[in-house]
Every structure is written in structure tokens, then in C-alpha cells.
């Protein structure tokens, strides 16, 4: 903790439009910019999934206008098999990097971390601004690959070598498409490293007086833990992408082995290691799962506590469990490689910590459920989405037990079972965390309330829709339905096509339900009822400042923190909550006895 006066915000309130809304140094504006980027990205990603789902259900159906996206990839508005894989790659990349990483971590974290620790801004605002714009450039570079001659890469978001490293001989988009993909991700890594640097330093050095580490709200802890993961994980992915680019443009042989023959062509590379890419990628890739989900855990805990009107069963254990997830996430990455051909003893070594990581996950879930039990939860859109997060995390997590064991994973790895697992536990759960955060913090971010009725409708349609989409995936996987296929022509797969049609209809309906959210977001931003400073009667610092917060977050008087973050239903208190900034002093009832 540090005396804030030593490093107060050095940049005054901006006056020009450019400085205020475009190249802003204000962490709140940067947070909103990240949110806007994630919003654009999620709708792009969702539309791509619609196109794929329609193709899987009705393969010959011509999607009007699809040829505008790619004349060669979708002649006559029906996509080619290669184009299906290209859209799948872009869907995964956009969703993982530009939605699940940017929204819960970079967007909400940027806006609320400095406020929750009681700081005027992040310590390195120029780095913070660069972080967003670098990420934005990364998004443009990725999207640009739609418009190059062969289109985007078809290698999947994991870009396994050697097919990702040999150029166009491996298929359309495997040349320039991969170079653009790898460049985009390398640039994205720079943005996230700059962001993580700011998050860590803000948490350690910018806390206001009285704000000890254990007095930080759970959301702030989650962002801090995530930033440590981001700092180490993205620092490994970036060099991996650089080596991949060099295999393309400089003729190096990092990932391509000798005497490789692809599509009848002998490749000039020699001695490269295809497994090396997987090791480097998954050393980032598994922590990335937690980079996507841990902020959601923090946000959901924060939302639930406020609506339960009581703290979690154990604040510290929840923090330690999130920290354990972060540490263990680096030891389990090899469970993504059980079928890669690596030494079976390595599989065993990675299987054990994978089973161990379920312990902190289970502790977190039990703390949520135990705290919810018997509470009089205030039902609103934010708390419903928080409950939905818990539900999705459990449902998706349970299937992880099966996949953690190599003998079972070998059977299920290339099937829709895995698709169902990671979509529930990483995709939908994280999305529900984003929605919970949006409904909860929207009033503070914009000064307007969102429509609660539309919010609840949005929740129920999304909740039911998500289960209708992703639970059948598990059934398909157990039935042996392979993933990444664009058409199902084998006898045993043809019988499963009706399930795919059901999933497609559910995906379209659930997708359209998101338009309710979009409408609510835009309408409320301009026409929503004015929001009071503390609409949910919360206790943390963001609720002790004006709505929306002023440029320096707290006006002329910096907050002083007296209490732990969640003082609800305190015996003898004047109200059912005591804000962190309240100097009210109560006697510990246990001491009185």
C-alpha cells in the first residue's frame, strides 16, 4: 500500500474530443473502449457461428449474401469445406482473444480496478492507452485476413504445426492467412502485457489509505490474479507466434520436420519439432482458460454478495483458491496434448495436476453454494446471470473430470464432447459473468439504469438456450460425432444430423435473444432512468463515488478505507450495510459475549 499523494494522476481532464474519447488516458474511457471492441467482436463471432451451424444442419442451404464474404469460399452462397474451417478458426480466435479476454478482464478491470483500490488512475496511463489501441490494431489485422486472396487461416484457433507453418500448400489461408493470424496474436500479446503491467502495479502500489490487500473486493483480487497469469502466459505466446511467422517468411524450420510431404509436395524444411508448437501454445493456452474465467469468478462473487446481503463463507479461502487455480493452470497444460503422441508418462504427469485443479474449483463452487444457501437473494438481472454463471461452471466443469483422464480423453478428444465442455465452462460461463457485470455496473459506467424486465427476459432465453445448444454436444460426443467436420456423411453420423438441426435452431434463437441485450444496452445508455450513486446498496469504493465517476474518480477528497469489503447485515449497525469508507465503528459482537 502506498501514500497516494506521491503519485497522483498527472494528466488533467481532457478537453479535446480526440483526447477525451479516442486517445484517452482515462482508465474509465479505456475500459469502455475495450467493452465496445468486445461487443463488436462477440457479434462478429456469433454471426460466424450461425453460418457454421446452418451449414451443419442444412449443408446445401444457400445463405443469402454469403458470397460477399468470399467468392471462392462460398460460391453460390454455399460454403466450401475449407471455408467452414476458416470460419471456425476465426470464430474461435475472435471469441477467445477479443471477447473472453478483453471484456471481463480488460474492460471491467480497466474501469473498476483503480476505483475499487481507491486510485485516481492507473500508474502508467500512456501504456494503458497503448494497450487498447494495440489490441484494436490486432483485431483489424485478424479481420483483414477475411479480405486477402485466400481468406483467413483454416488451422483452428490452436494453429497446430506443421500445417500452420508450411504455407498455402496446406490449404487456402495457410499462407498469408496464418501470417496475419500470428501477427494479430503477437500484437494482441503486447497489448495484454502492457495491460497486465498496469493492473499489477495498480493493485500493489496505488491502493488508498486503509486499503490493505485483504480489504480488496473479490473482483479486484480476480483481476489481479488474472493479470499475473496474463503477464506470464502472453509473454510465452508472443515468441511462439514470432517463430511461426519466421517459418513462413524466413524459411526457418522451428516447427516443420524433415521430409514432410503435404499434398504431394516435398517441403524444404528440416528437423523442426511439431510438438514444440503445442507445448508453447498450451503453456499459454491453459492459463488462458483461467484468464477468461477467473475475472468472471470475481465479478460473480461481487454481484452475489451484494445481492445476498452477506459475505461469502470465506473471503480468504476464495482468494487462495483463485490463486491456486492460477498456479496450477501452468502445470496442467499437457492435458490438451494427450493425443499428440507425446510420451504416455507425460500424460500421467499432466493428468494428476488436472485432477488436483478440480479441488480449488470445487472449493470455490462450494463457497458459492454454501453462501447462497439460506440467503434472501435479491433477484435481478445481475444476480440471475451470476447464478447462471455458477450453473454453467458446474455443468461444464463436471465433464472436465472425464477429459482429465487420458484413457477417456483419447476416446472423446476429437469429438463434440470437448466442444460442449469448453463452451460451457469457458465460453458461456464467462459470457454470463460479462452479462452479470454489465447489468451490475452499467449504472456506474453510464449514469443510467438498464431495463430490468428486459434483462430478466434476456437471462431466461440465454440460460435455456445455452443449455439447449451445449448439452446435446456432450451426447453427440459420446455418440462418436467428430468435431471440425463440415458435413456428416457416414451412416452413424447421418443419424445424428437431427440433433445438429435442433442445436442450430437453439443457436439462432439464443443469438436473436442477444439482440434484446443489445437493444437494452443502447436504449438505456441514452434513455435509461438516471442512476443513483449506489443503486444496489453496495459497500465497495465504486459505490462511494459519484455516478458516473468524475475524471479523477473521487473528486477532491480521496477515500479512506476502514472496513473489509463486504460488511452486510452487521449486528448493531445503523443499516444493513456499512460502506468501506464509513468511519462507523462497531463492537465485535463475539468479543462482547
Amino acid at each position: 500500500m502506498h501514500d497516494m499523494s506521491a503519485h497522483a494522476v498527472q494528466h488533467g481532464a481532457p478537453t479535446s474530443f480526440i483526447r477525451k474519447h479516442v486517445f484517452s488516458l482515462d482508465h474509465k474511457v479505456i475500459g469502455k473502449q475495450y467493452y465496445a471492441l468486445a461487443l463488436v467482436a462477440v457479434f462478429v463471432g456469433m454471426v460466424l457461428s450461425w453460418i457454421m451451424r446452418i451449414h451443419l444442419g442444412w449443408g446445401s442451404f444457400a445463405i443469402p449474401g454469403l458470397h460477399f464474404l468470399s467468392k471462392t469460399g462460398a460460391p453460390g452462397d454455399v460454403m466450401t469445406p475449407e471455408y467452414y474451417l476458416q470460419l471456425m478458426t476465426m470464430h474461435g480466435t475472435i471469441m477467445v482473444f477479443f471477447v473472453l479476454t478483453t471484456a471481463p478482464f480488460a474492460a471491467f478491470g480497466n474501469f473498476f480496478l483503480p476505483i475499487q483500490v481507491g486510485a485516481e488512475d492507473m500508474p502508467f496511463p500512456h501504456f494503458n492507452m497503448m494497450s487498447f489501441w494495440v489490441t484494436f490494431v490486432a483485431f483489424l489485422v485478424l479481420v483483414a485476413s477475411f479480405f486477402v486472396p485466400e481468406g483467413p487461416t483454416l488451422g483452428g484457433w490452436t494453429q497446430y504445426a506443421p500445417l500452420s507453418a508450411v504455407g498455402s500448400v496446406a490449404g487456402p489461408g495457410q499462407g498469408l492467412g496464418v501470417v496475419l493470424w500470428a501477427s494479430s496474436i503477437a500484437i494482441f500479446c503486447i497489448g495484454q502485457l502492457l495491460g497486465s503491467l498496469n493492473f499489477i502495479t495498480t493493485t500493489l502500489d496505488m491502493r488508498t489509505r486503509g486499503m490493505s490487500l485483504m480489504r480488496l473486493p473479490l473482483s479486484a483480487w480476480a483481476w489481479f490474479i488474472t493479470s499475473v497469469m496474463g503477464l506470464t502466459a502472453f509473454a510465452v505466446l508472443m515468441p511462439a507466434c514470432i517463430l511461426l511467422i519466421l517459418d513462413h517468411v524466413a524459411g526457418t524450420s522451428f516447427f516443420v520436420s524433415s521430409n514432410e510431404v503435404i499434398n504431394g509436395q516435398i517441403l524444404p524444411h528440416s528437423g523442426g519439432s511439431t510438438l514444440l508448437w503445442q507445448h508453447l501454445f498450451w503453456f499459454f493456452g491453459h492459463p488462458e482458460v483461467y484468464i477468461a474465467i477467473v475475472p468472471g469468478m470475481g465479478i460473480v462473487s461481487h454481484v452475489l454478495i451484494t445481492n445476498m446481503r452477506r459475505p461469502m463463507l470465506s473471503h480468504k479461502v476464495l482468494i487462495y483458491s483463485m490463486g491456486s487455480l492460477a498456479v496450477l493452470s501452468y502445470m496442467v497444460y499437457g492435458h490438451h496434448m494427450f493425443v499428440s503422441g507425446m510420451n504416455p508418462y507425460s500424460s500421467l504427469a499432466f493428468s494428476f495436476p488436472t485432477l488436483v485443479i478440480t479441488i480449488p474449483s470445487a472449493i470455490i463452487v462450494l463457497i458459492w453454494l454454501g453462501s447462497l444457501y439460506g440467503s434472501k437473494l435479491r433477484i435481478n438481472a445481475a444476480s440471475l446471470f451470476a447464478l447462471g454463471f455458477v450453473s454453467m461452471f458446474i455443468s461444464g466443469g463436471v465433464s472436465g473430470f472425464f477429459l482429465a483422464q487420458p484413457s477417456i480423453d483419447i476416446m472423446l478428444h476429437a469429438t463434440y464432447f470437448v466442444v460442449g465442455h469448453f463452451h460451457l465452462v469457458m465460453g458461456v460461463a464467462a459470457m454470463f459473468g460479462i452479462f452479470a457485470g454489465t447489468y451490475f455496473w452499467f449504472p456506474k459506467m453510464t449514469g443510467h439504469m438498464m431495463n430490468e424486465t428486459l434483462g430478466k427476459l434476456h437471462f431466461w432465453l440465454s440460460f435455456v438456450g445455452a443449455y439447449c445448444i451445449f448439452m446435446p454436444f456432450h451426447y453427440l460426443g459420446i455418440a462418436g460425432n467428430v468435431r471440425r467436420y463440415q458435413a456428416f456423411t457416414d451412416d452413424y453420423l447421418i443419424r445424428l444430423i437431427p440433433v445438429h438441426k435442433f442445436i442450430t435452431i437453439a443457436a439462432l434463437c439464443t443469438g436473436f435473444a442477444q439482440l434484446i441485450f443489445l437493444y437494452n444496452l443502447i436504449y438505456s445508455r441514452f434513455k435509461g432512468a438516471p442512476a443513483p450513486d449506489n443503486p444496489w446498496e453496495g459497500t465497495s469504493l465504486e459505490w462511494s463515488t459519484a455516478t458516473p465517476p468524475p475524471h479523477n474518480n473521487f473528486g477532491d477528497k480521496m477515500p479512506v478505507v476502514y472496513h473489509d469489503p463486504y460488511q452486510y447485515s452487521v449486528e448493531g449497525a445503523t443499516s444493513d450495510y456499512i460502506m468501506q469508507t464509513s468511519p462507523e465503528r462497531l463492537v465485535n459482537p463475539h468479543e462482547e459475549k
Binding site: A6, T201, V236, L276, L280
Partner: protein, 223 residues
């Protein structure tokens, strides 16, 4: 924590945040340049930030290292590189720059501490450090040009690939250090330099020196 309330800390309630560069000198080193006598020991963001940044750079080079080790052992095509002799001269240059930077730090500390009359140009050693840094990058460039002239390119053999990747990545990071050093000198000229900024720049620079020694050893050894 649950439902108990702690004793309020004894702190003033009406403290106003300070703004602008009025506090720019607050954290400066004392007259004799003895850093241990600085009263405010609490970390500044620049101090924490540089450690965080160095951790990130360490991870990046650890990833390159693991790639090198795996790649070297994965196939028999590794032809160990003969390092250009100029690299050893460059090593001396970057090591010397660390010494000149330390001289510079003491000069700046003494200057800030009130010995302005006795020290006419406190940035002198920082300029020397800057020059040595540029000399190092020029020396590295000479090594790359020399290798290319001999027909030894990125694609010649994977050991050369790693040589180029590691040395260029290091040089890029060192250019960042040169930028930081230029910024320190600029702030010193404008009298807005903080001790924590100078310390952070120095830590980064020394780290670059240590990193170069590590890379030289890594490229020289046949694992």
C-alpha cells in the same frame, strides 16, 4: 471477516490529493548520493512496474530458451554456430555501460541533493552510457551483416535461426532501454526526474546486460 468491524485506522480524513509536478522532487536522493538515507521507502509504481516488466521479459526469453533446447534435441540437423568475434567486444561494451550508468547515478544523486555548484554536467555519464548502448547495437548489427555476407542467414541452419532471433529480440529490448535512458536525461534537464524513474531505468539497463551474458552463454554452449 464476516460480520465484524475492525478498529478504524488512525488517519486523517480530509487529505486532498496532490496533482501536477509539485511533488516531483519529493522522492529524490539525498545530497551525498547515499540511497539508503532516503526516508520514503515505500515502492513507487515505476519501481514495481519495472520488476513486473522484467518478469515478463524473463518469461519471453525463457520461452525462447525452451524452444532452443527442444529444437536442438529433436533432430540431428543442428550445426552449432561459431559466434562472430565482435560479440565478445560487444559484451565488454555492454558491461562497461553498466559501470558508467552507476557513475551517472551517483552524479545525478549528488546533483539533485544540492551539490549543483560542484557538478556542472550531471548527465555526463548517462550520455556515455547512451553512447555505449548505441555502440553495442551497432556492434550487433555489424555481426548480423558479417554473417549475412558469409551467406549465413536465418534459414541456413536452426542454430543460426536462434542466433538471429535471440540477438535481435535482445537488441529490440535494448533499444527500449535506450529510449528510457533518453527519457531520463530529458527529465533531468527539465528538473522533473524522480529517483524511482532513474532507479527503474538503471535496473532495466543492468538486466539487459545480464540477459546478454546469459544469451551469449546459451548460444556458445552446445547443450
Amino acid at each position: 471477516m464476516a460480520t465484524t468491524v475492525h478498529e478504524p485506522p488512525k488517519i486523517e480524513l480530509d487529505r486532498l490529493p496532490s496533482r501536477g509536478s509539485g511533488n516531483g522532487w519529493r522522492n529524490l536522493v539525498p545530497a551525498d548520493g547515499d540511497m539508503r538515507r532516503v526516508e520514503d521507502h515505500s515502492p513507487m509504481p515505476a519501481s514495481t512496474g519495472i520488476w513486473v516488466g522484467l518478469a515478463s521479459i524473463t518469461m519471453t526469453f525463457a520461452a525462447f530458451t525452451s524452444a532452443l533446447i527442444v529444437r536442438q534435441g529433436s533432430a540431428p540437423d543442428w550445426q552449432h554456430i561459431t559466434l562472430p568475434p565482435i560479440l565478445y567486444l560487444n559484451t565488454l561494451v555492454i558491461l562497461a555501460s553498466s559501470f558508467t550508468l552507476e557513475f551517472g547515478r551517483r552524479q545525478v544523486a549528488a546533483f539533485m541533493g544540492g551539490l549543483r555548484g560542484q557538478i556542472t554536467n550531471p548527465a555526463r555519464w548517462l550520455y556515455v552510457t547512451l553512447f555505449l548502448g548505441i555502440l553495442f547495437v551497432a556492434g550487433q548489427t555489424f555481426a548480423w551483416v558479417q554473417l549475412r555476407a558469409e551467406g549465413l542467414k536465418l534459414s541456413t541452419n536452426v542454430s543460426y535461426s536462434f542466433f538471429y532471433v535471440l540477438t535481435i529480440a535482445h537488441a529490440v529490448h535494448l533499444l527500449g532501454g535506450l529510449g528510457g535512458m533518453t527519457r531520463v536525461i530529458g527529465k533531468l534537464k527539465r528538473s522533473v526526474l524522480r529517483r524511482s524513474t532513474l532507479d527503474a531505468a538503471a535496473r532495466y539497463w543492468h538486466f539487459m546486460g545480464a540477459l546478454w551474458l546469459y544469451l551469449l552463454l546459451l548460444l556458445w554452449m552446445k547443450l
